[in-house]
């Protein structure tokens, strides 16, 4: 039995020693609105937008950009900040239990977009406010906060104006 443990232990060593070799070539898209570009420049043509969690192979790097190959065979350049060396955690949808379990299903890209577009106080928050006798001024304030909509395009323009990240010279 002890011999078996040693074999498992040896396998574990081999696994962990080999890990950095594989991790060097494979990365994951970890940012929203991650665009694949034709050249290592933000102003170059956008080839496609990659989903969060997409696995990619890194082919080469240049300055702060990586040339990558996606699982679907698309090749192009992506800003380094959009990638992570570990897969991002997945957002969960309705699982039927507040602190349910590890078997919660991951929500799809469509559902994520729906959740991103939630605006205004929920019916349940309204109920809470009513029971607590929350002054109207606070409800109105929260409504105004939730009404501010920032699009990906606006963020890109903002980053470009500030020469931040992929827009840095």
């Amino acid at each position: 039995m002890k011999k078996c443990y040693f074999l498992v232990a040896k396998a574990a060593i081999l696994f962990f020693c080999a890990l950095p070799v594989f991790a060097g070539g494979v990365m994951w898209v970890a940012s929203d609105n991650a665009t694949l570009k034709s050249k290592p420049k933000a102003s170059s043509t956008t080839l496609s937008t990659l989903a969060v969690g997409a696995k990619v192979s890194v082919l080469e790097s240049s300055n702060r950009w990586y040339r990558i190959l996606t699982d679907s065979g698309k090749e192009g350049w992506i800003y380094r900040g959009k990638l992570s060396d570990a897969p991002p955690s997945k957002e969960t949808g309705d699982s039927g239990n507040l602190f349910s379990s590890m078997q919660s299903s991951s929500i799809s890209a469509d559902e994520a977009q729906t959740s991103r577009s939630i605006r205004g106080l929920s019916k349940e928050t309204e109920q809470y406010a009513q029971k607590r006798g929350t002054p109207e001024v606070y409800k109105k304030a929260l409504d105004q906060v939730l009404a501010i909509r920032i699009t990906d395009k606006e963020v890109d323009v903002f980053l470009k104006e500030g020469k931040i990240g992929e827009y840095a010279p």
């Binding site: 309705d94 991103r116 109920q127 906060v145 963020v155 992929e166």
Partner: protein, 327 residues
């Protein structure tokens, strides 16, 4: 087809009580061994091969104990698994309802939004820029500057983030603001506030938050749970390790966005300087770990970013908006 696939995946990852410990052993076994190996190799000059064999034997002994349900080690592992299980996922809509309810209390406690649309939009732009490179980029984030002289920022579950006008005045550049907002975004991403109230009575027997769960006894328990959250976020503060984790994530997020991650350290350093002459109750000083320790940890993290200084700082753009913050 998709449903069948989902069922299959669901079956293969069953996390029932019996499976939890088995899975945990599978997850922790290589990790435990790695720790043993690291400890052994770190001191390799002083260790002899006999000592390595001893470490391996100890590891085998640990496995024996983990497999024995009556052993102390096995019970400790069961406890860890129980915590892991209970800190897992909540559906987003329920989380958002908790966050919105807490936000209403945030206005009551700290004041109303600063009446400057340009300033609010600017903070939302910086916040959303970092949020989309955060650990949780797929949810909506809303940021609000509230009129309060206290040095404070906090986040509500679901992504509503407050920053006081007092803290906005202390901040001197956009990378510093990005660091603070990224810290709060990290709390949302790691669901720190939710983890702090997961044992609240409200959650017993509740599937998800609906209009029905806001009525009667459950409704009262919901109010108590929000009260507990206020106590944690507005007065006592989150667990120190959660704060350190949020600092680390914030620096990584700021860096990935293209801001100098040192911005966070600069704000913490300034807060440390003004701490003695600032109001403590209800501020970052009372709800966050000692600044010296946080600054030290952040400096260690900064070593990961050799080109940090070459990234964006933008003091001028920040100061354009800072001018409009009321005294």
């Amino acid at each position: 087809m998709n449903m069948r696939r989902k069922d299959k995946i669901s079956r293969s990852f069953k996390w029932g009580p019996a499976m939890q410990k088995k899975n945990a052993i599978i997850f922790f076994m290589p990790l435990a061994y790695l720790i043993f190996v690291s400890a052994t190799f770190a001191d390799v000059d002083h260790q002899k091969s006999k000592a390595k064999d001893t470490a391996s034997l100890q590891f085998a002994g640990l496995l024996d104990k983990l497999l024995d349900p009556e052993s102390k080690e096995s019970k400790m592992l069961s406890g860890a698994v129980s915590v892991l299980g209970s800190t897992s996922e909540m559906d987003y809509k329920s989380e958002r309802t908790i966050g919105e309810s807490l936000a209403l209390e945030g206005f009551r406690r700290y004041g109303l939004p600063v009446k400057d649309k340009g300033l609010q939009e600017y903070v939302n732009l910086v916040g959303n820029a970092v949020a989309r490179n955060s650990d949780r980029p797929n949810i909506p984030y809303n940021f609000v500057v509230v009129e309060s002289p206290l040095q404070n920022a906090f986040s509500c579950p679901g992504g509503i983030i407050f920053i006081s006008s007092g803290l906005m005045k202390t901040i001197q550049s956009e990378d510093q603001l990005a660091g603070i907002l990224a810290h709060e975004v990290a709390h949302v991403g790691h669901k720190h506030a939710l983890k702090s109230i997961q044992r609240a009575q409200f959650f017993n027997g509740v599937g998800k938050i609906t209009a029905a769960t806001m009525e009667g006894k459950k409704g009262k328990e919901f109010e108590n749970m929000i009260g507990g959250l206020q106590d944690t976020l507005f007065d006592k503060g989150l667990d120190q390790n959660m704060e350190f984790e949020a600092d680390t994530s914030a620096m990584e997020t700021a860096y990935r966005t293209g801001y100098d991650p040192n911005g966070l350290i600069q704000v913490l350093t300034e807060l440390k300087r003004i701490q003695s002459q600032s109001t403590q109750k209800g501020s970052w000083f009372s709800t966050h770990p000692p600044l010296g320790e946080r600054i030290g940890n952040c400096h260690n993290q900064l070593r990961k970013y050799p080109d940090a200084k070459t990234l964006a700082h933008l003091p001028d753009r920040y100061n354009q908006y800072k001018k409009s913050i009321p005294n």
